[in-house]
Subunit: 114 residues, 2 copies
Amino acid sequence: MQADQLSLTFSALADPTRRAILQRLAHGEASVSELTEPFDISMPAISRHLKVLEQAGLVARTRNAQWRPVQLNAVPLAEVAGWVEHYRRHWQSEFDRMDAYLAELQKGDPDAKQ
Amino acid sequence: MQADQLSLTFSALADPTRRAILQRLAHGEASVSELTEPFDISMPAISRHLKVLEQAGLVARTRNAQWRPVQLNAVPLAEVAGWVEHYRRHWQSEFDRMDAYLAELQKGDPDAKQ
DNA sequence: GTGTTAAATAACACAACCGTTAAATACTCT
DNA sequence: AGAGTATTTAACGGTTGTGTTATTTAACAC
């Protein structure tokens, strides 16, 4: 354990169920039952997904009677955005090369089959 | 297995060794031996990290004699950037609230202990 | 207190992850 | 062909992740 924050965040985001939970929470806080409802898995499983998200700092849990509303905390995602930004020029140049290649195809086609 | 691309990418990025490998490759292609050198782990271990990165589409391996130079492919990171971008306004508002809080503290202090 | 609802924890099973060392593969050079 | 170099694959072991069902905890309502 005791992984760095970025590893914790990426690891938490690696599961599609957890990403779907975050997406749901982007619309507002929700109870564990509400978060469980859309999925085919049991509430304990969701509860443990929430624990992973909580340990990554991506959600916060408060308490309201017997409910424990879950709220999104997007702050760790800022670090992800910063990390990935360093690579933008790399994928941009990949895309540029692809664009150039496609343009070359376009240019060639009207001149027809020679 | 057979996870979606985004899960594959996040999962590959969840390991600090693999992120360090990507960072090294951002400066140019490298052999497996070169990539192994900075780490305290064996070459087979690095080789398997490379396999994970390759399956996520983050690196490509060519062949040159007995070397298999590894190259960065940042394209899958574009999807990560797009995904995380949806949450920017959330962490921005978190930061704004934090700023407001700090400003409040600043304003209060000079007025002193009352 | 008793019953009900919401959620977490316990105990278990199974698969995946990550490292190791030893052996196999692929290529070069003489 | 035989030796040397680079890398992968095989076999193993320990830890972690993800699901299940059964049980426990916490708070409400009567």
